[in-house]
């Protein structure tokens, strides 16, 4: 069998890496819910969850257990297959982006060079794009299959919001690509480590646009219109109960974690620790320092996401569309033209 010609050690290594990344994403998402409630408590001068365990540290576990034990209700007139497919797709697309993020440099472990990136494909950024554009399906299918007009309206809102903000997101990325000249996230990170500055210095406007669009793509406040509970009862997951609801909520936090990691990688140097020369460190130390740097940046960005959520009120739907189409897209185009001109006149 030529099937056995596969490099089994390589395959095993990647499978272990994928398992680790997925478990880390899940744990981070779990504790992001806890962090969210603590931050909300802090912002509103409350204590936040403090009953389960010391400082309420076991609260996410208790919440998860509660969701697992709740009764599962599937509405009578809903499409059962699609009803179940919705949360599955939401979870799947939330997990998929993590495959191309470089979590650290290459390290030598037991005589093998291990790459802390599942796939270093030469179309990295476009892959992110593809997965982001698929992200709306979970919401749309779930909302429609619930057979509830509020869910349907929330799903339509969510889909149109995602499509509108994808454009500005893409144009902001194009400006970044003109600078880096590569689509691979590994190359982009390496350039930031070797160069003097992170990309945010060269692309402040692009960073801002990308950040705002990420907020919108993650359905975070002030862009949380698909879940506007004051207008739509609850949103696209109104009919969901038990762990299927948990999947939707969880997917949202995973999305937030992954998109913060992507922002950190693209604009904030990835696993580059500032003021430290990584080349001088030994393998394992460099790896740990890199991981610390990446997670530090990511957690700071997650905190900013939460900070914004508990500070700003929600947009009205027309304001949302105006911001997307009439402010962000022209700004992103302007950014792209300026970047293009600068690249043309200085670098060649």
């Amino acid at each position: 069998m030529t099937l056995l010609a596969l490099d089994w050690a390589f395959t095993l290594e990647k499978i272990i890496l994928i398992a680790i990344i997925i478990s880390i994403s899940l744990v981070v998402a779990m504790y992001a819910t806890y962090a969210e409630r603590k931050v909300a408590g802090f912002m509103q001068d409350r204590i936040g969850p403090n009953r389960a365990g010391p400082f309420g540290i076991l609260q996410p576990l208790a919440d998860g257990l509660k969701l697992f034990f709740k009764e599962e209700v599937i509405p009578n007139h809903s499409n059962k297959f699609l009803f179940i497919l919705g949360p599955c797709l939401a979870m799947l697309t939330a997990m998929m982006t993590s495959a191309i993020i470089p979590w650290g440099g290459k390290v030598e472990l037991g005589g093998r060079i291990v790459d802390l990136q599942v796939a270093d494909i030469n179309i990295g950024i476009l892959y992110i794009f593809g997965v982001v554009s698929l992200g709306v399906y979970g919401m749309m299918i779930g909302g429609w299959a619930s057979n509830n007009k509020y869910s349907l309206m929330a799903a339509l809102r969510g889909a149109s919001q995602a499509i509108s903000y994808e454009l500005a997101l893409g144009i902001a990325l194009i400006a970044l690509l003109m600078l880096t000249g590569s689509l691979s996230l590994r190359t982009i990170t390496d350039q930031q480590i070797q160069g003097n500055w992170w990309n945010i210095v060269y692309q402040p406007l692009g960073f801002l646009i990308f950040f705002i669009c990420s907020l919108a793509e993650c359905n975070r406040a002030p862009f949380d219109l698909p879940e506007a509970e004051s207008e739509l009862n609850m949103g696209y997951h109104q009919e969901y109960s038990s762990m299927k609801l948990g999947f939707f909520l969880f997917a949202e936090y995973i999305n937030m974690f992954i998109s913060c990691t992507v922002i950190a990688t693209l604009f904030l140097g990835g696993y580059d620790m500032p003021f430290v020369d990584e080349a001088g460190l030994s393998g394992i130390t460099a790896l740990l320092v890199g991981l610390l740097a990446l997670f530090g940046k990511t957690f700071f960005l997650i905190f900013v996401f939460m900070w914004i959520r508990w500070t700003l009120p929600r947009f009205r739907y027309d304001q949302l569309m105006n911001l997307g189409w009439k402010a962000l897209i022209p700004l992103a185009l302007l950014n792209m033209v300026i970047t293009g001109a600068v690249v043309l006149f200085t670098m060649k």
Binding site: L3, N122, L126, G130, S133, L134, L152
Partner: protein
């Protein structure tokens, strides 16, 4: 069979099977979902041909954008109940004739692919990678590329004009 061949056959069966399911599904929502599966399988074929850019653009544009709009329309029209199509006697004949015409065009278009494939392989098979594709699009085919972008722009302007009338 190597892993590539195995993947090829898997993707081929998936493409044809899901494409057939698009036609045979009673529920239009299922048709759309099967069409998305078809696009994914075709993207898999592109990756096997080492055309990663084409694969991902296929997913972004077709599976990601156009199919969402399809889904939008079907959801809003609520075509859930099976509509009884108006059946006329000449319909099957029209279908057979137009399908035959399509087959003819496809055969005419694809009959030289064997030769072209050899040519592609001679160029080391990495024509589909993004660097080479960019070079080809913006050097050799710059004029058709720009003309097609003008075409898209005019289509967008047209859509806005039609939308404004109401």
């Amino acid at each position: 069979m190597g892993i590539t061949q195995l993947l090829f056959w898997f993707l081929t069966v998936l493409t044809l099977g899901s494409a057939l399911m698009v036609i045979f599904s009673k529920n239009p929502i299922y048709s759309i979902l099967w069409l998305i599966v078809t696009f994914f399988a075709i993207s898999g074929h592109y990756i096997l041909l080492n055309a990663q850019f084409l694969a991902i653009v296929n997913i972004i544009v077709y599976a990601g954008a156009i199919m969402v709009l399809f889904l939008f329309v079907v959801m809003l029209m609520n075509l859930n109940m099976p509509a009884s199509p108006v059946k006329k006697k000449w319909m099957p004949f029209a279908g057979i004739i137009s399908g035959g015409c399509l087959l003819l065009v496809l055969i005419a278009a694809l009959k030289d692919t064997e030769a072209m494939r050899r040519e592609l392989l001679m160029k080391s098979g990495d024509i589909g990678l993004i660097n080479n594709l960019g070079m080809v699009l913006f050097k050799d085919y710059i004029l058709p590329f720009e003309i097609s972008s003008v075409l898209f722009l005019s289509a967008m302007v047209g859509a806005v004009v039609i939308g404004k009338k109401n």
